[in-house]
């Protein structure tokens, strides 16, 4: 039993780290644009398919495929933002959130229209699992884990040590003062949407690498992404990482006790508990 728990925690660590990538994208968009962008699920799907297209159809290596996943989803995100969501800005965050749900459905069906419903596997070699005693982990999981960590590290560096990264954090914290200091809100918003959408795209490709890309890849992800962001505190990037790790581990541990079908319910349960006990989440707080 103990080894099963440790195995579940290891799996949870890997899946939580992967989940953190789109969760960071989701929470970053919320922090700067102040609305929950539920199209992030479909952007993950677009990333999965863009990566698959690059890898299988074009024969690109995975590294280059990740870049296309990021770019494809990032461009789709900013296009959707400017064409559909931004015109509703004056109607408020709720209308923008509902619009993003609609955008998500449209994007998902565009993918379905273009690629069909069949799952699409990546062109990666089959390898034996790596074993540590009773524990096992696949080389692909290790690679995905490393890619997710590398991406988070790059994002951390960009947010903390570049002028634009600092402007994004400043805008998320105090948009009025940021504008007064010369930050162009439209530029910061566009970059945030591209980066947030791009992260969702890479997250979708990471999930698809573990299984396969299909039109519902992102839809299955969105509840866990939202739960992770709410648990960590909407708008908090460290919160999204911690929230994703916790959600990943809890989901894996649940499989030990309940049928895998109930795994999806974990997201709902976590959102319910967090909103009841600590609505601002683990890292959320009001800035002053």
């Amino acid at each position: 039993m103990l080894s099963s728990i440790v195995q579940a925690l290891l799996n949870g660590l890997v899946s939580g780290t992967i989940l953190a990538v789109p969760a960071i994208g989701f929470t970053a968009i919320f922090a700067v644009l102040r609305y929950p962008n539920f199209a992030i699920g479909s952007l993950a799907t677009i990333g999965a398919y863009a990566g698959w297209y690059a890898n299988v159809r074009l024969g690109w290596p995975l590294e280059a495929s990740f870049a296309l996943a990021f770019l494809g989803a990032g461009i789709a995100a900013v296009a959707a933002e400017w064409l559909a969501v931004r015109p509703l800005e004056k109607s408020g965050a709720l209308m923008m959130a509902i619009c993003s749900l609609a955008v998500g459905i449209v994007l998902e069906n565009m993918v379905r229209f273009g690629f069909g419903n069949d799952p699409r596997g990546f062109n990666v070699p089959l390898m034996r699992d790596i074993r540590f005693g009773d524990l096992r982990i696949s080389p692909q999981q290790v690679e995905n884990f490393a890619v997710a960590l590398l991406l988070m590290a790059l994002l951390w560096v960009a947010l903390n040590f570049t002028r634009m990264g600092r402007a994004m954090r400043a805008t998320a914290d105090n948009p009025e003062l940021a504008r007064l200091k010369g930050v162009e809100p439209a530029t910061v918003a566009a970059i945030t949407v591209v980066v947030g959408g791009g992260l969702a795209g890479v997250g979708g490709m990471l999930v698809a690498l573990d299984t396969a890309a299909d039109p519902l890849t992102g839809f299955r992800l969105i509840l866990s992404v939202f739960a992770a962001a709410v648990l960590g505190g909407l708008g908090s990037i460290p919160g999204a990482v911690v929230g994703a790790l916790l959600i990943g581990m809890v989901e894996e541990l649940t499989v030990l006790l309940l049928a895998p079908n109930y795994r999806t319910a974990i997201g709902f349960v976590v959102i319910l508990i967090v909103l009841t006990i600590r609505p601002s989440g683990l890292f959320g707080e009001k800035s002053g």
Binding site: R169, A170, L177, A178, K181, V183, S287, G288
Partner: protein, 264 residues
Amino acid sequence: MSVLAIEGLVGGYASADHIVKGVSMTTDAGEMVAIIGPNGAGKSTALKLATGLLRASAGKVSVAGADVTGASPQAVLAAGLVLVPQERNVFAALSIEENLAMGAYTTPKQVRQRREAVYARLPLLAERRRALGRMLSGGQRQLLAMGIALMAEPRVLALDEPTAGLSPKAASELFASIRGLASDGVAIIMVEQNAIEALGVCDRGYVLVDGQVVREGEASAIIADEDIRRLFLGGRKGHGQARAAPPSKPPPAGATAAASPGLP
């Protein structure tokens, strides 16, 4: 020539909402000017109109001879007029060092040197350079807000109620720091509720009532004016809060009777 010249400024939060009704003011290099008046007189609104945060419907604003009327906050900042807002004037989630870097966002050259210059002027910030904005006390936040503004190397510093919520000691220290800036040639224009204290450190003053300047002149003359003392300053020395009072003389043309004391 005045570094900041505001002529006939009109405007408010909405295009038809004229809180400020034709205000004219000037500030010279190294001069400290106070804007005092009762609540709702349009003091802060005038600063927001001058700095581009609100769009003026009439009037002219120039900084060192450059016309910045109707310009964006970024353009006004580039011209050298920097506003320090009354509230939410620091980035709470950023460290002091990062806050200062944001002050130099539009002019990202020699940031380190400028930051060290700010630390030299405001040593308290240097001691806590890694601290987040949200961890600072009210007085420290105001100092940081000034430090952020100084990073842009302003010609004119517009301060909106810099001592609001501060203890008398902290307010006094802050005024001393502001005086130091003026001594180095920065023009200061500040809105203050602590009218006596503000006039005590400033060279000149403007009294605003109902969006209009009803009195201007040497700060010492305004403090000495019995009408002003009685109407706005509580009528006794050391009483810091400006107060609106019923008019004792006919109000100026266009002013409402309730808010306009009709000072000469």
